[in-house]
Amino acid sequence: MELYEYSVSALKKMLQNKKVSSREVTEAFLDRIEIIDGKVQAYITKTAEEALKKADEIDSKRQKGEELPSLAGIPMALKDNLCTKDIKTTCASKNLYNFKPPYSATVVEKLEKNGAVMLGKLNMDEFAMGSSCENSRFFSTRNPWDLERVPGGSSGGSAAAVAAREASYTLGSDTGGSIRQPASFCGVVGLKPTYGRVSRYGLVAFASSLDQIGPFANTVEDVALVLQAIAGHDPMDSTSVDIPVPDYSEALQGDIKGMKIGIPREYFPDELSSDVKDVVQKGIKKLEDLGAIVEECSMPHTEYALPTYYIVAPAEASSNLARYDGVRYGYRDKDAKNVLEMFMKTRNEGFGEEVKRRIMIGTYALSSGYYDAYYLKALKVRTLIRRDFESAFEKYDCLVSPTSPSVAFKLGDRVDDPLAMYLSDLFTVPANMAGIPAISLPCGFSEGLPVGMQIMGKAFAEETILKVAHAFEKNSDFQGQKPRGVE
């Protein structure tokens, strides 16, 4: 077995027992990237030099017998919308093609303190807007299971890198499914924590009331380890919540006998492809076999989640992205004759089609005369969606559904049809609207492509969904499969 094939927890033990050095592990991943990334194209920026320096630092500390934190010396990579001090953070946009932040995101600082070794920055849909990674202004990332297919999005690079073993774990961000949907497409585990569980400081904002940072890894155990490192209150983020962070690895222990799981029927609509449906239903059967009490339930406002999302998210985005005007940083049109022209040309050239589409939708929804009909109404529907979850969670410990209505689709298939593209977030958007945690984990295959199962939990009850996911994972037999496209 190659070093890059081990899980985070296995590497952690090997490093702690000095069976292997961080330099060896890091070099193994760097070599892997060298060989594979030409096909997968997960990385926008590679930071090999910095990675090796950090690895050596950790190794020398370990040699001296220093006590090291849990993730010390383990190589990882970050979605390119997480600010990294003095390292390019582009959001896969022409607007930020040269932007080097003078500060690091809180999660980045936390991982650094934890001894993490950063291999580089990962591709994404521009400003996290998209479901296929095809909206990157630089290049499209490929799905490691089939290089003709998309890895999902917007955190496509983060999912593909973990699937192709180009990083032992990665961070992504999830506004409407941007962690879970690519995790599902790439056959890895991806967690969107509760809104407020992880600090957003330093995450380049898309939709502030929905954005949340979360981990990708190959196992639930690894995801729990990484969440442990990044969770917690941050005085720099007023929306991060000041409550204790439980021990997530500890929470994985034990079985799920007697646990009550709701299956919302609205998450199995006609749009759901039948093979995905079959695979997920088999998965649900397995949870039942493991002792969970499974019941069908109803979430009546589910159908409004997607349209509501496409008011709220673009509205916030139109404001969040207004600062990219060419005045202070990033791309600026050089030929403009006055300030208004500079704003317009910079933004017209700096943003891609999908970003511009959403800025326009959002600007429209917030405009005087339309605000009440769109934005205000969307906020009200959002409350109804939240209540659906609240009443469901009075009865159930968690809810299970497919992560996305289909498996990974082919590159180019949906680029000209935004609505078809939006539909792949049908089942993931509600969790963002309600702010609750949700995880996607591999549940089986359809035509050789991974299918993801989504487990949604109560706010701040990440340990519950991790536990269910872990129990499922331990009892499934397809985990060892390697992505065909890169083997």
């Binding site: 919308n81 997480l82 600010c83 953070t89 959001c91 930020l96 932007f99 932040p101 003078p102 500060y103 995101a105 957003r200 400081y201 330093g202 995450l203 380049v204 904002a205 939709a207 502030s208 009331s209 005085p235 720099m236 983020d237 007023s238 929306t239 509205a315 916030e316 139109s318 404001s319 207004a322 600062r323 005007d325 005045v327 202070r328 940083y329 006055n338 300030v339 704003f343 600007t363 917030l366 405009s367 005087s368 605000y371 934005y375």
Partner: protein, 480 residues
């Protein structure tokens, strides 16, 4: 002004709060400083940053609300006001829209002895923008422009009045009283020349007796009390002229051109921004409980009107004197400090309203920067009371003190200005004056009382003003 029309004025006043740090980050709020040195990723609005509310700003806003008799909201929130401008780092300003921190207040003003209550619609908190420095006159015509973000994120409160004012004088009185109150409660420096107190005026005219308001215009760029009054006077005249000529007032924003003394159109209603306000998702709503409000209420000092009343009742000052002295907290503090060690209130108020104010104005200084301390003035007044110097000399000494910062005793000594009250010394000088001025002497002896004045003047001249005038009078009369 044309007697057929009535003026309606409402003011929107922006006041920078004097917290140590900015509203959403810990950068200093200090004025001046090299451009872009009082900045950080947060106030520069870099990608990924988030605002964190400075609680001190809320304290100050509550304090202002209480001082202006407002209701303090138990629940309020921040909103984003979206517009593009190079001095606005995020392209939105974090402000408060439909749920401001304070509302329904009032303020009492006095114009020509008549008291009037002006309603305060609301007070809200927001962040200031940066400053543009154009290489040319206007942004549209400038070769290039530079931006200084030191001011970006400095906390502001915006105080919006009801359209209760009926003349430029009332508007000015309101603004002056508002400034006094904000200074009394120590939440703002209120330096109009540094922009820490700014004002926009909404003004309209209507035929006397009309119930509906006329179409209003908003005037910006009012950087002093004088500008406020002059601009309003001009704009009222302009509006009346338009109406008299059968025209209609266009609802628009106009700018006061100080050098030309006119208002000019900036943009019409159709060109007005749509700010697309929506709740700021990066901040949680703010809950203010009674305990918090009471804690702030306890810190409220005596306010201008109460203090004025006290000066009248306790010291017997005339209403007018008390009004002038309490119009500025610093002036009133100066007065009270003097009275701690000197018990003639009217003399102190005369000196403060007279010499002190005159010299401050002449030197363009604020009371806070006055080189003379209250105890220095008291020392001077005591020298006068003891007869060491005359009243006339005292003014000269005061000027010297003001110019050099030296104490009264030292100035008197150095310049040899002690009053001559030694009769024998004066007698010889007076004898000489009598000898040298036969004409007035003769006039006086012939019953012309007035001639004595000329002789006293000669004695004062000979003593360079130092002679004790009463004594000179007495001796002169004896000798004659």
């Amino acid at each position: 002004m044309n007697q057929k029309y009535e003026t309606v004025i409402g003011l929107e006043v922006h006041s920078e709060l004097k917290t140590n740090s900015k509203i959403f980050c810990d950068c200093t709020t200090e004025f001046g400083g090299e451009p872009n040195t009082h900045t950080c990723p947060v106030c520069l609005g870099l990608p990924g940053v988030l605002p964190v509310l400075n609680k001190k700003v809320v304290d100050y806003a509550i304090k202002a609300g209480l001082a202006l008799n407002c209701e303090i909201a138990s629940f309020c929130k921040f909103d984003r006001k979206n517009y593009f401008y190079p001095d606005l780092p995020k392209a939105y300003q974090i402000s408060q829209y439909d749920l401001p921190i304070c509302k329904n207040g009032k303020l009492e003003i006095e114009v020509d002895g008549k008291k009037k209550t002006i309603g305060i619609t609301r007070i809200h908190m927001e962040e200031d923008a940066g400053k543009l420095i154009h290489q040319g006159d206007k942004i549209a015509e400038a070769e290039s422009s530079l931006v200084d973000y030191n001011r970006a994120g400095v906390p502001l409160i915006e105080i919006v009045s009801e359209p209760d004012m009926r003349s430029p004088e009332e508007a000015r009185a309101y603004m002056e009283m508002l400034k006094a109150i904000l200074q009394y409660i120590d939440v703002s420096d209120c330096k109009m020349q540094e922009g820490s107190l700014r004002c926009d005026a909404n003004v309209s005219v209507r035929p006397v007796g009309a119930k509906e308001f006329g179409t209003k215009t908003e005037i910006k760029n009012l950087n002093s009390f004088k500008a406020l009054q002059k601009a309003l006077e001009y704009e009222i005249e302009r509006q009346i002229e338009v109406l008299e000529d059968g025209g209609k007032i266009v609802q628009e924003t106009r700018s006061w051109d100080e050098s030309k003394g006119i208002t000019v159109s900036l943009r019409t209603k159709e060109e007005a921004h749509d700010y697309r306000y929506f709740p700021e998702p990066d901040l949680v709503p703010l809950k203010i409980d009674e305990e918090w409000i009471e804690k702030i209420r306890k810190t409220l000092p005596e306010l201008p009107n109460e203090r004025k009343k006290r000066l009248v009742e306790e010291y017997g000052l005339p209403e007018y004197d008390a009004g002038v002295i309490t119009s500025s907290k610093a002036l009133a503090d100066f007065f009270d400090k003097c009275l701690e060690s000197y018990d003639k209130p009217k003399i102190v108020s005369n000196w403060i309203m007279g010499e002190l104010s005159r010299l401050l104005n002449a030197n363009d200084l604020e009371v806070e920067d006055c080189p003379i301390e209250p105890q220095d003035l008291v020392e001077l007044l005591k020298l006068m009371d003891k007869g060491t110097i005359s009243g006339k000399i005292a003014k000269e000494v005061f000027e010297e003190m003001f110019a050099t910062g030296k104490k009264a005793g030292r100035v008197v000594k150095e310049k040899g200005l002690e009053q001559i009250s030694d009769a024998s010394e004066l007698e010889s000088i007076i004898e000489q004056v009598i000898a040298e001025n036969p004409k007035p002497v003769e006039d006086y002896r012939n019953g012309k009382e007035k001639a004595l004045g000329a002789l006293v003047g000669q004695v004062m001249k000979a003593t360079r003003g130092k002679a004790n005038p009463q004594l000179v009078n007495k001796i002169l009369k004896e000798k004659l």
